[in-house]
Symmetry: C2
Subunit: 360 residues, 2 copies
């Protein structure tokens, strides 16, 4: 029996995708091979790769000015790969820190430059808000401005994306890519690990504007130099072929759901249901300001934290899995990515109400 | 119908592994989740990870002095990751170049040091031999000596592994790991992409001796710093969980085959069959000296190269797939990794004999 999976990533996958992957495992469409046995340069895999790229470009509305790269190493690796590709001759980059992930990006950049903290969303309650553009204090000549548009651990999402003109905006979109439309033209670079809304862990999405490919430092490993990766259509080194195939199946599934605008409406509905339940009483607490509340990752606390284990055990007994909060913040977290169905969120809020009634 | 797959990597997988992966795709052992949906820090995936590590340690006979890491980026990324982790305060590293792959390693290292060419296997016929230890001319104080113990493109394998004493030996074992026993204690570092004998593309094996973890350069990305990866049991960044799961299934399969010594005997038999067929006439040519002939990758040429397309078409019609040689050398290449059954090699040599008889 399948459970409802609220993991922060790796996370729930659409069941249709898993069924198709299982069916095609031994023989992909009459090729006599599994996708994982195919040469990445063969006709069969090339068609899988091109179709995934095309569908993603359509879903994300990526303009022709931007390359789509499939890389490896996840968001954490990009924390170093971004400055190695973007600094050029500049000595600083600016960071808007809204939680754990952008903070890690800020710290890692110090290996390559003197990063500047342009704004912080930290308050006495921890990271609870996304600073507005008017609050950002940019340095004189930053190579780029880094933003994590959705903080997986703190549940802080940035909804207003500013236009920075000539300064390239770099965004870590790992945990909400494809959950809502993004105006890609406003970004110099988007990157993200796949293991939330794209597919399985092991492939990293990078969307980069053509004119930004000329800034790599000499120490940037060739396999992670975007210009080299782009020139080789993500096949400079052997790509994670099966992870790209699975991503392609997810893109097809998302198109069948009506695309990003349709899934956004469902994500609004799912997250509203959960936040409304949290806000309806003092039994559950979420401290993030309303305008910055993530639609993907909903951290919440029991007012009485001695009941945490009790809450998790009861949830598990109903097949509501992986609800424990990140160890750095504690409490609970429900990650409700695209592939988590409304029924899953309904089952969760029903359980939360009953748990509250029984213990109140 | 399944074909016989001679791809150089990604390559043939054991059919039993694919069947099990398909069966477990929607619900791994009653968990209600696919492996690709599991948190990497959850009990279920941790057990998969630990079992894969344990089985690999047993199969490769990795001593307690060495860590086993699962990373990302493949062998090509390691060409930069190795010097960034190994140089410390030294200014050079030594390279034994036996083909395309070690040549790429040699060139990439120039981003971080002044690499020294200690020996080359290049002859007037291209890369056709592995220089013996007596031929290696080491520099005065190299940080390490790099060797590619099996060259996938040129089909050159190094069988005699020297003991370099205090100088760490670093080996790219991508395309023959687990095909024969290796005395791991002789190596400071072993690395390799998974997509030949370990499983699917997207996970990179690194085996590194504990005392070598202190040499990383400050510019080494945290996600690729072996010390950090080792301290976090390969979970500093989200690991490629599904690729690790598949590798674990391959390790179990290999144990059922009798382990590395048993598979080596089969690899000797398979490669002998193929080389004997090539050597039996002037119709087929392999230029690698006998003592350096790879048991995994067998490149060969038709004496009359105008028949190449004809040969490949006839092979395909019999379900003998992906036999085209690498574009940099041309001709044919049969990669006969662990998962390619003896029946596959039998079918290939039978076809080769008939093709020769029909055209001679």
């Amino acid at each position: 029996m399948r459970v409802f999976n609220f993991a922060a990533g790796p996370a729930a996958m659409p069941e249709e995708v898993l069924r198709q992957a299982a069916e095609e495992m031994l023989d992909w469409r009459g090729s006599g091979m599994s996708v994982m046995e195919m040469s990445h340069r063969g006709r069969e895999f090339m068609s899988i790769h091109e179709e995934a790229l095309g569908d993603l470009r359509e879903l994300l509305e990526v303009p022709a000015s931007h390359h789509i790269l499939f890389m490896q190493g996840g968001g954490l690796a990009e924390n170093a790969i971004v400055p190695m590709n973007m600094l050029g001759s500049r000595k600083t980059a600016d960071f808007v820190v809204t939680g754990s992930w952008s903070n890690k990006s800020f710290k890692e950049a110090a290996k390559y430059c003197t990063p500047h903290l342009a704004a912080s969303g930290e308050t006495s309650d921890g990271f609870t808000r996304a600073p507005r553009r008017a609050e950002w204090q940019l340095s004189d000549d930053p190579a780029y401005v880094h933003l994590c548009t959705n903080e997986t651990i703190h549940g802080v999402e940035t909804f207003d994306i500013p236009d920075l003109g000539d300064i390239p905006l770099v965004a870590d979109v790992s945990s909400h890519v494809l959950s809502r439309p993004l105006d890609v033209a406003k970004f110099g670079v988007l990157f993200g690990g796949a293991q939330k809304n794209i597919g399985m862990a092991g492939v990293t999405l990078v969307v980069v504007r053509e004119d930004l490919l000329e800034r790599a430092l000499a120490i940037c490993p060739s396999a992670f130099e975007w210009k080299t990766v782009a020139a080789n259509n993500s096949m400079y080194n052997t790509p994670p072929t099966y992870a790209i195939y699975i991503a392609g199946l997810v893109f097809k599934w998302l198109k069948r759901q009506g695309g990003v605008r349709a899934i956004e409406a469902r994500n609004v509905e799912k997250s509203k249901l959960l936040y409304d339940t949290i806000d309806a009483s003092d039994f559950y607490i979420n401290k993030v300001e309303r305008a910055s509340r993530s639609r993907m990752n909903v951290p919440f606390f029991l007012a009485d934290e001695s009941r945490n284990e009790d809450f998790l055990a009861g949830a598990k007994a109903r097949g509501l899995m992986q609800l424990k909060g990140h160890k750095s913040v504690g409490g609970m977290r429900a990650s409700i990515y695209n592939a988590v169905p409304l029924e899953g969120v309904n089952a969760l809020v029903e359980y939360m109400k009953e748990f509250e009634k029984d213990r109140a």
